[in-house]
Amino acid sequence: MKVKYYFYILTFAVAILYLIGFKNKSKTYKIFSLFLIADVVLNFISDELYNWFGIYNHFFINIIFLFQFGFLSLFYSYSFDNKKWRNIVEVLLIIVSSYLIIKYSIFPDTFFILHYQDVYLTIFPIIVYGVVYLYNEYDKPQELYYANLGILIHFIVNFFCFISWPLQSLSIEYDYLDEFNIIISNYSRDLHFITYIIYAIVLLYQLKKLKSK
């Protein structure tokens, strides 16, 4: 079995653990648990798309980014006590989602390309919300503090991996640039795997903290 499947099993198990006793938990916890399970399933489908149907997953990654942005915006919107921040999250959610949906409707070609501007628009706000969530810990203990830390690490790494994707995917005739691309691509993949493990460990630690409460 390929290494990536072990990661999927690990993150799927973590997501299932989050779903146990899910009914009696807060709204933010419910949204987060649903996000985890849906995220694993969508990432798995995206990864297997070429094996199953022989099609590239660029369009599916755009769907995943939109889904992540929507779900996590909701999560942070419910988590923030400050009305100003709640409004910012909600307004940005409407503006960014509308912009991307309209763009994909008017220019369907863009839906099948992984564009770094779209990556920036959907991931960077989540990083900012994650940082604000960390900051809020000073005022009041946050329910999913460690999980947020995991999201932050995972998304910062994802951000740079995906934003550098256009650079990796450039097809250039010069050998040294091709080599450079391969190096970046390998580093990016390894970093992605390591972050996945850290992300899963932090999520499990958060679960342990919640259970001990």
Binding site: Y120, I127, L134, Y135, Y138, F159, F160, I163, P166, I172
Partner: protein, 263 residues
């Protein structure tokens, strides 16, 4: 050649965008650390202010208690000693009266003796109330035993006292703090709590000298916290602070009081 130009343009664009992305995340993190530092300083200042406020409160309660104690001693001296010494003085003047009969002389002398005796008893009682002599002579354990005995006989209350600790290693001033705390707690239990059974146990709990105090009185709502804390409780807390200990008060209406403090 055309392809190369497009590729170089794309590389430059991608690099610039990656730089911009790096800068965005970097700026976010810098802002986070800047505001976090500000917040940490603000929290530290608030904590310090709270400490100062708490110390002021303690000082105020200490001054108030001191004043109340002075008033009580002044009243005791006035009522129990000065009044009697006044009559002794009057009687002594009467002795100067010429042509006093033998019987009158005896009566006045008896009066003086009786009043002096009462004044002496009262002065002993006042001194004892301030600091029992047994405390100075035999230490805290004996003083608590005497205190328990006094309260049990005078206030019709059952007090169970046990001690597993050796107080000899404690400084005299700390022993006095513990004694005063128990005095205050017993007074509170009887006066406010209307307790009939009180328990005082000195034990070694997880390596720390601990006093477990409980009564079966009417209790109070401990969750109200500082709002309903009387001067007595504030004094107890400040004394526990002097002992470098911690106090834990648990009470509910009609469920008595359970207090634990270490030293």
């Amino acid at each position: 050649m055309e392809v190369t130009h497009i590729a170089v343009d794309q590389i430059i664009k991608a690099f610039l965008f990656i730089l911009f992305a790096f800068f965005s995340v970097f700026l976010t993190l810098v802002l986070f650390f800047y505001f976090s530092r500000k917040k940490i300083v603000q929290i530290a200042v608030e904590k310090k202010n709270q400490e100062i406020h708490y110390q002021k409160e303690i000082l105020q309660s200490v001054i108030q208690t001191q004043e109340e104690e002075r008033m009580r001693i002044a009243q005791d001296l006035h009522d129990d000693i000065s009044s009697k010494l006044n009559i002794v003085s009057l009687n002594t003047h009467l002795l100067k009266t010429p042509n006093l009969s033998e019987a009158e002389y005896a009566e006045i002398t008896d009066n003086i003796v009786s009043l002096t005796k009462k004044a002496l008893e009262n002065s002993r009682r006042i001194a004892h109330d301030l600091l029992p002599p047994v405390f100075e002579k035999f230490g805290l354990h004996a003083a608590v035993e005497e205190l328990v005995l006094e309260f049990s006989t005078a206030k019709n209350v059952q007090i169970n006292y046990s001690n597993e600790l050796d107080f000899s290693s404690l400084e005299a001033k700390n022993q006095l703090h513990i004694f005063r705390i128990l005095q205050e707690l017993l007074n509170n239990s009887i006066r406010h709590g209307k307790a009939t059974v009180i328990s005082i146990n000195f034990v070694n709990k997880t390596g720390r000298n601990t006093c477990l105090y409980s009564d079966n009185g009417v209790g109070f709502n401990a969750s109200l916290g500082n709002q309903k804390r009387g001067i007595g409780m504030q004094n107890i807390e400040s004394r526990v602070n002097f002992l470098n200990g911690k106090i834990n008060v648990h009470s509910e209406i009609n469920k008595g009081v359970q207090i634990e403090f270490n030293f």
